[in-house]
Symmetry: C2
Subunit: 350 residues, 2 copies
Amino acid sequence: MSDAKFPNSCPIPFSGGDIIVSAHGGGGRMTRKLIEEIFAPAFDNPLLRQLHDGAVFEGAGDRFAFATDSYVVQPLFFPGGDIGKLAVCGTVNDLAMCGARALYLSAGFILEEGLPIEQLKSIVNSMSRQASEAEVAIVTGDTKVVERRRGDGMFINTAGIGVVPEGVRISADRIERGDIVLLSGDVGRHGIAILAARGNLQMDMPVASDCAPLWRSVNSLIAGGIDVHFLRDLTRGGLATALIETAASARMDVSIAEAAIPLLEVVRGACELLGFDPLYLANEGRFIAIVRPEQADQALDSLRRIAGGVEPAIIGEVTGGEAGRLWLRSCIGIDRPLELLSGEQLPRIC
Amino acid sequence: MSDAKFPNSCPIPFSGGDIIVSAHGGGGRMTRKLIEEIFAPAFDNPLLRQLHDGAVFEGAGDRFAFATDSYVVQPLFFPGGDIGKLAVCGTVNDLAMCGARALYLSAGFILEEGLPIEQLKSIVNSMSRQASEAEVAIVTGDTKVVERRRGDGMFINTAGIGVVPEGVRISADRIERGDIVLLSGDVGRHGIAILAARGNLQMDMPVASDCAPLWRSVNSLIAGGIDVHFLRDLTRGGLATALIETAASARMDVSIAEAAIPLLEVVRGACELLGFDPLYLANEGRFIAIVRPEQADQALDSLRRIAGGVEPAIIGEVTGGEAGRLWLRSCIGIDRPLELLSGEQLPRIC
C-alpha cells in the first residue's frame, strides 16, 4: 500500500489542539477542524466527500446485508491491533458471516475530553489502512464528545452495508444432520492479547490478536462452489458461545472434538495459568463454517490456501438431536454439554 | 397505535435483574436475556428475527442513502422526548435530508453498569414507538456494557438506510442565486427543553423539545413536485451553523432576515435571560429547504399542511456572492455576517 492512500499519516500538525475538548463535539469550528483535518483525509472517497448528512449510493437489484457493532475495548492499543482496526474488521466480518462482501461503512466516534489527538490520529489511520485492505469505504460518520469520566478515551460504532452474491443463503435453518463444522484457525489469541496489554500477564513473546478481515476466506468458499450452510465469527464469547447459539438456532445438536481444536501452546499455557477456558476466549479473526459432508475436505483446502500460517481444521459435526445443544468430546472420549457463561471471562474485550 | 405492536410495553418482569451489570455485555446468558426479553420484542420484525450478525434485504436498482449518528444527550429523559426517540428521529432525519425515505435502522447500545433496567425498557419502547411512527424497522443491533464512570447511563448509535425517490437530487451544488430559503418551524425548542431538564431553568410551562421525524414534511415537498435543491436539518449548532455550512458548501452567500425567523416567546425569553443566541440553539425536528423562487409559495403551503401547529416560514434567499457567507439582516435593517461558534453553547444536547 502506498502512503498516497493515507494523506493523513503525514506530519501536518492538527490545528485544533493536542487533546480532545468539549468543543470538538459541538458541531462548530472545532468539530469542523476534526472532520477536515483528521477524518476526511484518512477516509477520503467520493461518497464521503459529499459531506452531507448521509451518503447516497446506487443499488442494482442486489441483496444487501446490514450490520453494526460498537467497540469499547480497553486498552485502545494492543498487540496485533487497536480499537480502530477492530471497528473495521468487526463489522466487515459480521457482513461476511451473512455471506456479504462489505461495500460501505459508517463510523460514529464518542470521544472523552482529554483524549490525546495523536491517539485519535493513529486510530483513524489504522481504520483507513484496514478499510483499504478490506476494500470497503467509510462513507459517513459522526463525532460526539463527552466530559472526563463520562466515557473512556474512545468508543467507536461502525455500521456496514454489504452485498450478498447470487445464490448464497447463509442461515441456521439450512443446517442439516451430518453437516461438518470447520474452524478457520486457532482460538483465543485476541483474549490473551488484550489480557497481556492490560499488564495482567508477563510474557516474553506477547501473543498478537488474531484481529483480521474474514471476507477473503469466506469468499474462497463461496467462489469455490461450496454451498455454505452457515457461518459465524467467534467474538466475545469465543468458539463455545458461537456454537451453543448456532446449535440452539438450528435446533440440532452439534458435537465437537476437543483434540481437533487448534490452540497455540502459549495460549494454552496462559489459560492454564489463569484458569480461563480457551473455548470461551474472544477471537476477532476466526469463524466457523458449516458445510455438507461431501464438501468438507474441499472447504478445508480453500481455507488453508487463504489462511497464511494459520491452521484451519474440521472440528466436529451436526449430530441432529432436537435439543439443540453443543457437546464437547474430551481428549479421553467423554462427551459433555457446554453451556453459555452467565457473564464473561473478560469484560471490554471488543 | 395499538399496544399489540409493542409487546414489550407490558408488565412481564425482566428475568435478568434490576440494573445493568457487566455480564449484560458479555455475550453470554445475560446478554441473551437482554436481547430476548427487551430488544427483540420491542423492535420485532422479520429481518431482526433472523438474529444473525446482520440483516439481509433486497434492493431493486434503487438509489440508497446511508447515515449514522451517536446520541449522548443528558439527561436521558427530557420534555418532549428521550435519548431513544432522538436516536430514531435523528437518523431518520439525516436520511430525509438526503431526500431519502428511511427503510432500516441499526441500533448500538453502550450501557453503563448500574443503569436501571426500567430506564432501558422505557427508552427501548420509545424507540419502538418512534420507529413505527416513522415507518422504519430496527433490523440489527449490538449491546456493550462499560464500568461505572466509564460511560454515562446510555449512549445509542443508530445507522440508517433509506431509498431516494427517482429524480430527487439534494446537493449543495444545486443551490442557485435567487433560490429561496424556507424554515420548517420555530427554532430553539430542543436546546431550551434540555436546559430545563437539567434543572438550569425554573419554568412554569416547560418547553417541549421539537424532536420529531421529518420525512413526511420532506415528502410533501417532493411528492408535490417541488424540485428541492437542498435540505439540512438544524441540530446541535442550530439554524446559524446549518446555514453557514450550507453557504460555504455552495460557495454562495445566503441572506436571512431576523424578523422572519419563527421563535416562541418563551424561547426568546429564556435566551434573553441566559444570554443564548437562539439561532445557534439545537433543534431536533426542524429543517431548511432551498427551492427555486417560483416554487417557494407552493413549498410553504406544503410544509404548512404537514406542520400541525408549527409555523413554517420563508426566511431568506441565496444572494450569490462567491465568499459563501451567511448574512443576517437585523430587525433595524443592518446586515452582519454570522460565523461558526468555536465550541458550543450547550454540550451533550443530542
